[in-house]
């Protein structure tokens, strides 16, 4: 039986008349990276604050690592790590001292602390710069250090609130690789909030989509695609005139057709062989350069869910 790291039952939190989290019902199995996706102000950070016991729910309840978030907050925080909205580093202090402090907070012995600090700084490529104060570091390096801090005491569960936000592509990819490697090696459960779909798709075994505090969907990225995605075909080329579009729309297996620049997107009602459609277009004068049967990206699934919710 899979162990459950996080369980919420109709978890809600209001701020005045605003429902920041609204009846959240979900389970996060242990040992996976769980993606919690949503646009800005959708309730992701509030959910983390509720799960860490930093905020009391207005109604409903949640269990984290088997502990109640209302009454056993200390037990939860003892076993969890967190990288919240900001890196939260003491910028005038050195990288080593930042980790040293949190090692003391988590009551790690001196020898264990030193070994773990060295291991993590080396893993993230920061060991050579451990004595520098972090204020002049790049955002990517700070995020790596903050991630190292969250993992310092070998927590069972780590909350990462948009860890790659604001990083350039290279820094984000590097942090993602480090994170994936480390979490796999240490078997830690990761609750990852992000609005970066590529990140979620690459890292997460399960994803949940939240909007305006309400959970829209939970599942493996492929399951979400199956739920929300109809098969489609992307055609690159020229000659996509109204006559061609009319011919395609008249076909019973086609549900929608859209042209953007030199790309034609055909939504199908069901999986099918697309050769007859390509023949139709060629015979109508379309110059076809490329045909690709589409599998929607997680981003498209996300946008579809957002659209449906509206």
């Amino acid at each position: 039986m899979t162990e459950i790291a996080i369980r919420t039952e109709n978890l809600s939190r209001d701020f005045g008349s605003v429902k920041a989290v609204d009846g959240l019902l979900m389970e996060v199995p242990s040992g996976i990276i769980f993606g919690f996706l949503g646009p800005n102000a959708s309730g992701k950070t509030t959910t983390i604050n509720l799960l860490l016991g930093l905020l009391e729910p207005t109604s409903g309840r949640a269990e984290v690592l088997g502990f109640d978030t209302r009454t056993q907050t200390s037990e939860i925080r003892t076993r969890s790590g967190a990288l919240l909205e900001y890196p939260g580093l003491y910028e005038q202090m050195s990288a080593e001292d930042n980790l040293e402090f949190y090692g003391r907070v988590w009551k790690m012995g001196a020898a264990e602390r030193q070994a773990r600090v060295k291991e993590l700084l080396a893993h993230f490529g920061l060991w050579e710069r451990r004595r520098e104060s972090v204020e002049k570091w790049s955002r990517g390096m700070k995020q790596k250090l903050a991630t190292a801090r969250a993992l310092l005491h070998r927590p069972s569960l780590v909350f990462l609130d948009e860890p790659t936000a604001g990083l350039d592509v290279v820094a984000a990819a590097s942090l993602r690789d480090d994170l994936a490697g480390l979490t796999a090696r240490e078997g830690v459960t990761v609750f990852l909030t992000t609005h970066n779909m590529v990140e979620a798709e690459r890292l997460c075994r399960l994803v949940a989509v939240i909007r305006q505090g309400r959970l829209l969907a939970v599942g493996h990225p492929d399951e979400l695609r199956a739920h929300t995605d109809s098969p489609h075909v992307e055609v690159a080329g020229s000659g996509f005139n109204e006559h061609v579009l009319g011919l395609l729309r008249a076909r019973p297996e086609v549900s929608a057709v859209e042209v953007q620049d030199r790309r034609l997107s055909i939504q199908l009602r069901q999986e099918m062989d697309v050769a007859p459609l390509v023949s139709l277009m060629v015979s109508a004068g379309v110059q076809v350069e490329e045909v690709r049967k589409g599998k929607a990206s997680l981003e498209e699934v996300f946008l579809t869910l957002m659209e449906e919710e509206r």
Partner: protein
């Protein structure tokens, strides 16, 4: 709890003194009050320094130092976005609160003690009487005990202000403004009613006045301690 407080004290000490930028700032903050209390006033007062109430000028040290360190420690954590990470850790609220308080109060108090000892050296070196000049008991009690109680008082007011301030600067400005009010009000009252006050307090000697001040500060410190313990709670801090 003590172990957790020591962790916070370790970090606060690093932030305050050990980090390069902080060390220079802390030295500059120390320089003027130390020069005034340890050198200028003892030289100006001469041997009277060890018995005169002027020696209470040392009480400005905890006021000045604590009023700069507390906003930096509390409002600064929020301004620099380190507070939420700290609150997401296993540290109990009280360990964070009292660890920070201990460093600020300890710093202000210890510097005061060092300053009055240096002042004693200065006055003995500059006005040697053939024997070592020592402070009168009333001055010792006043400087040592009142400086501690005053440091706690300033810290308490500073914490309450800092928890409601968005930035270190606004917290420091408001704290200094508030700390200036009591001396100004007392000054106005004394200048208007000096005869009546003189008659009423005529029978009170310096030591008794010090004890009264201690009683008032202890009461104020207890009230402030209760207020900050009620206010310094994770949920309230997270919501700002």
């Amino acid at each position: 709890m003590i172990g957790d407080m020591l962790s916070v004290i370790w970090k606060e000490r690093k932030s305050l003194f050990v980090s390069r930028g902080s060390r220079m700032r802390a030295l500059w903050n120390l320089l003027i009050p130390l020069v005034l209390v340890a050198i200028w006033f003892p030289l100006a007062q001469g041997p009277d320094w060890v018995t005169s109430p002027v020696a209470l000028i040392a009480l400005m040290i905890p006021t000045l130092l604590v009023s700069t360190t507390i906003p930096d420690s509390f409002a600064g954590e929020r301004e620099r976005h380190t507070l939420s990470t700290l609150l997401a850790s296993r540290l109990p609220d009280r360990a964070v609160l009292f660890g920070k308080l201990a460093v600020a109060v300890g710093y202000g108090w210890l510097v005061t003690i060092v300053a009055i000892l240096l002042a004693l050296l200065t006055v003995n070196a500059a006005h040697w009487q053939g024997h070592v000049l020592l402070y009168s008991p009333a001055i010792v009690v006043a400087d040592v005990v009142l400086s501690f109680l005053l440091a706690v008082f300033v810290a308490g007011v500073g914490i309450l202000i800092s928890l409601r301030s968005a930035s270190v600067q606004s917290a420091q400005q408001l704290l200094v403004t508030i700390l200036l009010i009591p001396p100004l009000v007392l000054g106005v009252i004394f200048s208007v009613f000096h005869k009546q006050i003189g008659n009423a307090l005529g029978g009170i000697d310096f030591m008794q006045a010090v004890l009264i001040a201690m009683g008032v500060l202890i009461a104020a410190d207890v009230v402030l301690a209760l207020a900050i313990m009620a206010r310094f709670q994770r949920a309230r801090l997270i919501l700002g």
